[in-house]
């Protein structure tokens, strides 16, 4: 049996202190609202759920000072990323084991595909709460939860049958989030001048440039409409929806390589169009 303090640490790491603060089952749609944990208590033994904070503002045992940094995902929308400064590292969550999750993962690794749903039900609330403590972007959290489960699925052969699955899953989620944030930071470097201008309320581009940009965007849209449907579908899945090639290829009934070449071709066509457009505007 776990000690209360140890378990509180785990819960704080996995869910954050605000985990139990959302009163209803309906998740908040506002990106700045409190994190939502649908049924965390339902997945815990009664003796353990007693340790969960039950009132808003009740401390769960871990300092949860957070820093907020701005970040921009590929979609172009801005959202705050909450980077915990003093939370326990993920790989320290080893003292507690959810035997049910471990056995479900063991069965799934052994080839019992029906165990995946059980594994999902056990891990998803914890993963979601863990990620929501770090970012308030609901879409990003959902994407990362799905990606984390895909990694668990892809690497199930590597799973050690006596290893706890929760620290592994949380570490994967943290790595995927870090990768996203790193990509976002790179994007920030690219767009930093515009962003600064926007923050200062200064128009970053002249009206003329803005009109040229809009025209170019419209031309790209028209060009996309002129593409063969297979090309357009491939572009939409991979570039707009951001689906990995491995996932998108079976949906389009083609090999990954063929899809990659198709995307490359479409992007080349669009790039030529854009360079032609910018040349024209420069001229």
């Amino acid at each position: 049996m776990l000690s209360g303090v140890k378990f509180q640490n785990l819960i704080s790491v996995a869910t954050g202190p605000a985990a139990a603060e959302t009163p209803s089952d309906e998740p908040p749609r506002d990106a700045t609202s409190m994190p939502y944990v649908p049924s965390l208590s339902a997945h815990l033994p009664t003796s353990l759920s007693a340790h969960l904070p039950t009132k808003p503002g009740e401390d769960s045992g871990v300092d949860h000072a957070v820093g907020i940094e701005s970040a921009m995902p590929a979609t172009g929308h801005w959202f705050p990323v909450h980077a915990p400064q003093r939370a326990l590292p993920v790989h320290h969550v080893t003292g507690t084991r959810e035997v049910g999750n471990d056995s479900a993962m063991a069965r799934y690794a052994a080839g019992d595909d029906t165990a995946f749903a059980e594994l999902y039900d056990g891990l998803a609330p914890l993963l979601m709460a863990y990620l929501r403590r770090r970012t308030r972007d609901r879409n990003l959290v959902e994407d990362l939860v799905q990606e984390t489960f895909l990694r668990l699925h892809l690497h199930r052969g590597r799973y050690k049958l006596d290893a706890p699955v929760l620290p592994w899953a949380l570490t994967i989620a943290a790595r995927l989030l870090a990768n996203r944030v790193r990509g976002i930071r790179r994007a920030n470097v690219v767009f930093s001048d515009d962003d600064q201008a926007r923050d200062e309320g200064v128009e970053a581009t002249s009206p003329e440039q803005w009109v040229i940009g809009m025209e170019l965007a419209e031309r790209i849209e028209q060009e996309l409409l002129r593409l063969p449907s297979a090309d357009r579908e491939a572009f939409d899945l991979v570039k707009r929806e951001g689906l990995p090639l491995k996932i998108a290829a079976p949906r389009l009934r083609m090999t990954t390589l063929a899809l990659k070449m198709r995307i490359f071709r479409v992007c080349g066509r669009l790039r030529r169009l854009m360079s032609g457009g910018s040349n024209a505007s420069n001229a």
Binding site: P27, A109, G111, E142, V145, Q146, L154, V165
Partner: protein
């Protein structure tokens, strides 16, 4: 999207994406590792195989036994993770990478020093052939090991790769004991220690580039 939709979407995504079960992965690991070790042995025998001439049998047995023990320990510490899916802490991996070549070198010197004339300078054998042979023997198992863990390491992929490299280097060192009769320190540093460290560096680079968990789903 509510929780149920996310669940449905995730399960649907998983069903469209094939993955290896534990048994299939183990079979593949055994097959690939056996093949890569066999390829290393082929390289070893093509280079001349066992060359025990001019050395007392007890010297060969002692250096070989000590080297083998250290190699087994380094494989255990550098590759095996116990009951965890996460790699060892960073300081332990750094310790493995630095201590294993030092331990192999120290053992070789200490054991060879007991035999008169076994550590005399041999200027025409600076150790370049040993270096090439060790790297050639170690690179195939190392690449195999790294590729088995491709895109799956969420923590410290570089250090994990370096530990793998040094473990493979220690294994290659054992075979080199059978091949190389030279034991003077300059030769050992260039021909035996340097390739183990080179394999660690190659492992670190491969680990960072291949084992690091990226956002693409390549396996």
């Amino acid at each position: 999207m509510n929780a149920e939709e996310l669940r449905t979407r995730t399960i649907a995504a998983v069903t469209t994406c094939p993955s290896r079960t534990h048994r299939a992965f183990r079979a593949r690991t055994i097959l690939l590792m056996t093949s890569s070790v066999a390829a290393s042995l082929v390289i070893f025998f093509l280079a001349g195989g066992l060359r025990a001439a001019q050395r007392p049998e007890s010297l060969v047995a002692g250096t070989l036994g000590g080297g083998l023990a250290i190699a087994v320990l380094s494989v255990f510490a550098g590759i095996y993770r116990g009951r965890s899916m996460l790699p060892r802490p960073g300081w332990q991996l750094v310790l493995i990478v630095t201590l294993v070549p030092a331990a192999l070198f120290t053992w070789k010197i200490a054991w060879s020093a007991r035999y008169p004339g076994m550590m005399v300078d041999w200027p025409e054998r600076p150790g370049l052939r040993c270096l090439v042979l060790t790297v050639a023997m170690g690179i195939i198992p190392l690449v195999t090991l790294v590729s088995l863990c491709r895109n799956s390491e969420p923590l410290r992929p570089g250090l994990v790769g370096a530990a793998m490299g040094v473990a493979v280097g220690a294994g290659a060192w054992v075979f080199l004991e059978l091949w190389c009769p030279v034991a003077y320190p300059h030769h050992l540093l260039i021909g035996h220690v340097a390739p183990a460290l080179a394999l660690a560096m190659i492992g670190a680079v491969l680990g960072r580039s291949m084992m690091m968990m990226k956002n693409s789903l390549a396996r």
